[in-house]
Every structure is written in C-alpha cells, then in structure tokens.
Amino acid sequence: MSVAPENYVLLSAVLFFIGVVGVIARRNPLIMLMSIELLFNAANLALVTYARAWANNAGHVFAFLVITVAAAEAAIGLAIVAVTFRRMPFVDIDEVSALKG
C-alpha cells in the first residue's frame, strides 16, 4: 500500500512551518536547535518524497548530505550553547547580544 506523495509533501510543509515558528518564537536555545532539526528533516522528507515520485536517486543522496551537515550543525550548536550557558546562567537567547553592531 502506498501513500500518495501529496500527503508526504503536506507533512513536510507542516513540519517546516512548526520548525520556523519554533526558531523565531521560542527563546530557549535548546528548543531552537530542536526546531532547526525539524527544519532539516522536513526538507529531507520532501527530498526523499520527490526522489521516489520521479524515480531519481539524486534526492536520496542529497538527503544523506543534509543528515551529515545536520549532525555537524548539532555538534557545533550544542557546543556554543554549552559555552554560552557557562558564562551567562540564563536560557534566554535574546540576552546573548554581544555581537550587536
């Protein structure tokens, strides 16, 4: 039994929207990182869906690349969050504005 691609695309769009709202609206850096993961995976889902729909393996390959980059991003992002938290003991991303121009 196969599900129509439109459903996957719809799911992907919903996930992406949740991720965007999470990144923009939440202030907790950990939540923001998780939202970014949602964005990645929404994109991955769309890539795989289209790859299957058009019988073209490039989408699969690209999804693997995205997973790799996501892993690296998570490692760096968590490290930054840990260091920041060690210096400033609060979990509000808006307080971390030392790079203000």
Partner: protein, 658 residues
C-alpha cells in the same frame, strides 16, 4: 679573451676599491692605476686584431633575434680605447699625487675605475642598447665624481645639474633606439647599417639622427645643453682632465663617427650637426675670454674644441674630427693636469687674477701649460695645428664656407684666451697677496676664494694640512704623467701630416663618403693654413698687448680690476643660458608643482581618498544597524529571504508553465 679583459678589469678595480677601500688605504691609488695600465697594455696587444677587416668581435649574450649583445673593437673604438686607458692611466697616476691626503682617497679611485669601465662599455659595445647603457653609466660616473666633495653644496648642485642634463640626452638616444628597433628590428650596428637605407625614408632618418644628436649635445656640451660643463669643474682636477676634457665629453663625437653611415645618408642631419658644432665652438671660445677661474677657462675651451670635433664629424670629415679628438685628449689633459699643479701648489686657488708670476715659482707647470697652449692654439708643428687645420679645411672642402669662416675666427679667439690664461697666470708679479677688491673681486667667498681659516679648510675636505699657500714643487707622481703627455702633445700631430699621412691610411675606407660629391675647395690647403695662422697670430698679439707687454704688466692689478668691472654682463652670465633655463623650464615646472600641490593634491587626490573613506564609513553605519545581536531577528530575516526566493520561483515557474 683580451677583449673581456680590457672591458672588465676596470670594473673589477672599481668594485675592489669600493669594497675594500678602508682596508687598502693609500694602496688604492697604485692598485687602481695599475689595473688601468694593464687594460692599456691589453688594448695595445689587441692592435692587430682590431685593425683586421671587421675588427675583433665577441658575443656576450644572444637573447632574441636582433637582440645580440657583444663587444666589438674596430679601428674607431680602438682609438677611443687607447685614449681612455692610456691617458686614463696617466691621469690615475697623477691623481695619486693630487688626491694624496684626501679623506676619500680609495673612493676616488673606485669611481675613476668605474668611469673607465663605463666608458669602455660605451665604446666597445656592438649594439645600440649596450651603447646606451655605457652612455648612462658614464653619466653616473660623472655625477659621482663632480659631486666627489659632497660636503660642498655647489659641488652637489653641479653634479645634479650635469646628471639631469645628461639624462635629457639619454632620452633622445632612447627614442632613436625605439625608432630603429621598430623599423629595422635589430639593435646591432652591423644590422642597422646594412638595412637602414631600406627601412627609413630620408625624413625618418633625420629624426633618428636628431635623437642621437640630442644625446651627443648633452654629453658633449653642445649648445644649448652645454651649461653643465663649466659647473662640472667643481670636481677634482684629474676628473676634469679625464672625464670633462679627454674622454667622456667626446662621446658625442664617437657617436656621430660610429653612426657615420646614417649621417652620410642624411644631408639635413649633417647640416644641423655641423652648424651646432660651429656655433658651440664660437660661443665657447668667446665665453673663454670672459672667465677668471682657470678651470672654467679650460672648460669653455673644451666646449669650444668639442664644437670643432662635432663640426668635423658633422660635415662628413670624420677622420679629421676623430683626429681632433685624438690630439685634444693629449693637450687638454695636459692643460688640465698643468693647471692642477698650479691649483695644488697654491692651495686650491683657482682665480687667475690672484695668480701671476708663477713662471719662476712653478717652472715645470709653466712649460707644461706653455706646450699645451701652443698646441691648442694651433701653432704650426704641434698636434693641435694639424687636427684643427684638418677640421677647418674639411668644412671648406665639403662646401660649408660659413662654417669654415666660423672655424677660422674661433681659432683666433682660441689663441687669444689661451694666451690670456697663460700670461695672466705665469707672467708679471704674484698677486696672491693683493687685496681681492683691488682686483675687482667683490665677494671673495662667492668668487670661489677658499677661506683660509683652519676650520673651513678642514670642513671643505680637501688637503686640510694646507692652510697657507705655499709654493711647493709637485711630487714626481704629478710631474711624470704631465711630462709624458708633453711628448704626444708636441709630436702626435705629424700622424696626419701631408695628404696621405698614417692617420688617413689608418681610416682609409673606414668611413663612408658623403652621398653627394664634395664641392671642392676654392682655396688650397696651404693658403687656408696660412690664413688660420695669421688669425692665430692676431689673437696671440692682442693677448700679448693686453696682458704680457711691459706696459700692461706694470699696471696689471689696475688693469685686471678695470677689465673685471667692465666685463659685459652677457658674457659674465654666459649668454643668460642658465637664466633662460631657469625662466623657461625650472620656474614653470616649479609653478606647475606648486599648483598641483595647492589645487590638485588636496582637492582631487586627497579629496578622492577622503570621499572613499567617508562613503565606506557611511555604508558601515548603515549596515551595522542591521546587526541587532538578536538571534531570532536574524532567523526571521532568513525566513523572510527564503519566503521571497520561494515566492519568486513559484511565480516565475507558474508563469513559465502556462
């Protein structure tokens, strides 16, 4: 192999003495002289190779087709090499005595050796670019040696002036080379002479000759680029003898003689060069009558004699012009070295008004100067007689009666001012203890009278031990070279005696004849010689009456004072050439510079830089306002950008699909 030796030995000497000067101390002089002596011996040993057809030739570097650099010693460069190393050797030996005790003894010989190397590069090169390199290097050596006593501002100014005016000439040669390379495609003399007829129209050929002649005029002190030569006498006297009389300033003569095929093919260029040479001969001789500085008199006489040479090679009498160079190198070197003995003996006194009566005190210098004066005046039997006669008569033979007339008149003026120099310096009573103002010298300091205070003598850097004038005999190192030079000064002229002398045979067939046939002279050479002799005798007689007759000697002081005061301003100021350059070139250039400094620099260049800085600062302010430091704001703007991109593609492809 010897060819490399005569070229590189002086360079080796220059580098050695420059690098090890402080260690060598007083050995620098003998070493430098010996190297030049060896180079002279090597040049003499090359005689047979050089006089063989085509001369001896060695390729140094073959770079591109038509760009082959090499050394070439043929009959013309042989003559120059012999003078450069031979007379150069004698002057080096003389300098050991003259420069003794100078603080920069080794530096002097390093520069002198370097000069010989540069001059050998000039005459040995077988191509135009090598010639230009030598041309520039001799200018550099001249700059070093004029400014040798760099503690004196006047020496530095003279050196700078000489260098700048010489560079004007270098630029002329450079343009000639560009033109030749563009049209002929080769820099080698042989290629140029073989192909220039086909490559150039007569008009273009004249332009090439003109470019080359600008170089000649600057280097050989031809009007209007002559004003550096009198100032160049700021250098030590041996330098004046070697560079500014015997060798470097005659490079222009070499250039015209070397490019004789070009000149032979361009009648316009011959007219121009002949006229400029004659004009310079006359103008220099007239100025020689108005000078009081012994070296400046000789400098103007050099300018005048080079005018003769340039006239000779210009009108097509190449072997006569070169012969005048050959004899002039001996007698003018001798005159300078003789005057150097006088200057040395009088503790750097150069004003002839403060000399007088030196005949008994410096008999050797008197004999040396007398022989030189007789030779340069063209007294029959001495060297200058033969060469000057050949040049002057050559002008008539080639159909230039006006140049001939100028040459004859100049010969008379030459006799006048040279005997004036001799009489004022060596006859009468010694005037060194006369108050300068009685002689009409208004500003002793400005007139070049060295201060006698020990501090000034020490700071001037020359012979600090000589504070009081004392008439000491020259050392043997100074007398022997002068004594040797007396022999060729008297005798060398006989090489060109008669219609078929050794000199004419030496250069037979070497120089091309002018394209049109010689006009034929209206009077024979004997009559011409007699005419020149009469004019010379008149010049001598006037000089004798004015300066050496018993009546003139009795009131010498008053006479010199009167003459100084009444000297026409146009002569004192050397025809206002310097003033004209100042007004026409220097002041406009300064005004232009000041205008650029006041207007262009602050309002265009600085303003441009300022505007660029301000603009980027303003942009920076604008962009930093975007950097809020709020991560969520960044995320929002990224999201907004993504929406924009997606919207664009969505609309674009939706339109395309329809």
């Amino acid at each position: 192999m010897l060819l490399y030796l005569i070229w590189l030995l002086p360079l080796f000497g220059g580098v050695l003495l420059w690098a090890l000067g402080p260690q060598l101390r007083s050995w620098a002089g003998p070493i430098g002289s010996a190297l030049i002596g060896v180079a002279f011996a090597a040049t003499v040993m090359q005689w047979n190779d050089a006089t063989a057809p085509g001369g001896s030739h060695a390729v140094l570097v073959s770079w591109l087709p038509g760009w082959s650099f090499g050394l070439q010693l043929d009959r013309l460069s042989l003559i120059w090499s012999l003078i450069i190393t031979g007379v150069g050797f004698l002057i080096h030996v003389y300098s050991i005595g003259y420069m003794d005790g100078d603080r920069a003894f080794a530096r002097f010989f390093a520069y002198m050796n370097f000069f010989v190397f540069a001059m050998m590069t000039l005459v040995l090169s077988d191509n135009l670019v090598g010639l230009l390199v030598g041309w520039g290097l001799v200018g550099l050596a001249s700059y070093f040696l004029i400014g040798f006593w760099f503690e004196r501002p006047s020496a530095v100014a003279a050196a700078r002036k000489a260098f700048v005016m010489n560079v004007v000439g270098d630029v002329g040669i450079m343009f000639a080379i560009f033109y030749v390379v563009a049209k002929v495609g080769s820099i080698g003399y042989a290629d140029v002479f073989a192909h220039f007829q086909a490559a150039f129209t007569p008009h273009e050929l004249f332009l090439v000759c003109l470019g080359l002649f600008i170089g000649c005029a600057a280097k050989s002190a031809q009007i209007p680029l002559h004003t550096w030569l009198p100032d160049a006498m700021e250098g030590p006297t041996p330098v004046s003898a070697l560079i500014h009389a015997a060798t470097m300033v005659t490079a222009g003569v070499y250039l015209v003689a070397r490019f004789a095929p070009l000149w032979s093919a361009s009648a316009d260029a011959r007219e121009l060069v002949g006229a400029i040479g004659a004009l310079t001969a006359l103008a220099g001789a007239v100025l020689g009558c108005a000078q009081w500085d012994i070296k400046r008199i000789l400098a103007y006489s050099t300018m005048s004699q080079i005018g003769y040479m340039i006239m000779g090679v210009g009108i097509g009498a190449y072997d006569a012009g070169v012969f005048h160079f050959f004899t002039h190198a001996f007698f003018k070197a001798q005159l300078f070295l003789g005057s150097g003995i006088v200057i040395h003996a009088l503790a750097n006194e150069q004003d002839v008004r403060r000399m007088g009566g030196l005949r008994t005190r410096l008999p050797f210098a008197f004999v040396a100067m007398l022989v030189g004066v007789l030779a340069i005046s063209g007294v029959p039997g001495l060297s200058g007689f033969f060469s000057k006669d050949a040049v002057v008569y050559g002008a008539l033979e080639s159909g230039h009666p006006w140049l001939y007339a100028v040459g004859v008149v100049t010969a008379g003026i030459t006799a006048y001012y040279m005997f004036r120099l001799l009489f004022v310096t060596f006859f009468g009573a010694y005037r060194g203890d006369v108050d300068p103002s009685d002689l009409g010298i208004r500003h002793p300091e400005l007139a070049g009278i060295p201060s006698t205070s020990p501090a000034a003598a020490a700071s001037s850097g020359r012979h600090p031990e000589e504070e009081e004038p004392h008439h000491h005999a020259p050392s043997w190192l100074m007398s022997v070279p002068v004594g040797i030079l007396i022999v060729p000064t008297i005798a060398i002229g006989w090489l060109d005696a008669g219609p078929n002398g050794p000199w004419k045979q030496f250069f037979a067939g070497f120089f091309p004849r002018a394209s049109e046939a010689a006009a034929g002279a209206p009077i024979s050479e004997t009559i011409s010689t007699a005419l020149v002799f009469v004019v010379v005798a008149i010049g001598f007689a006037i000089a004798y009456l004015r300066y050496a007759a018993p009546a003139a000697l009795r009131e010498a002081v008053a006479r010199l004072r009167r003459e100084t005061i009444r000297m026409p301003a146009v002569l004192v100021n050397a025809y206002y050439f310097d003033a004209a350059f100042e007004a026409l070139l220097v002041r406009p250039a300064r005004a232009l510079g000041a205008w650029f400094y006041r207007s262009v620099d602050p309002h265009v260049i600085d303003a441009g830089v300022r505007e660029a800085a301000w603009t980027s600062q303003w942009l920076g302010h604008l962009f930093r306002s975007f950097e809020t430091g709020l991560v969520r704001a960044y995320a929002l703007s990224i999201a907004f950008g993504v929406v924009c991109v997606v919207a664009y593609y969505a609309f674009a492809f939706a339109g395309g699909a329809r």
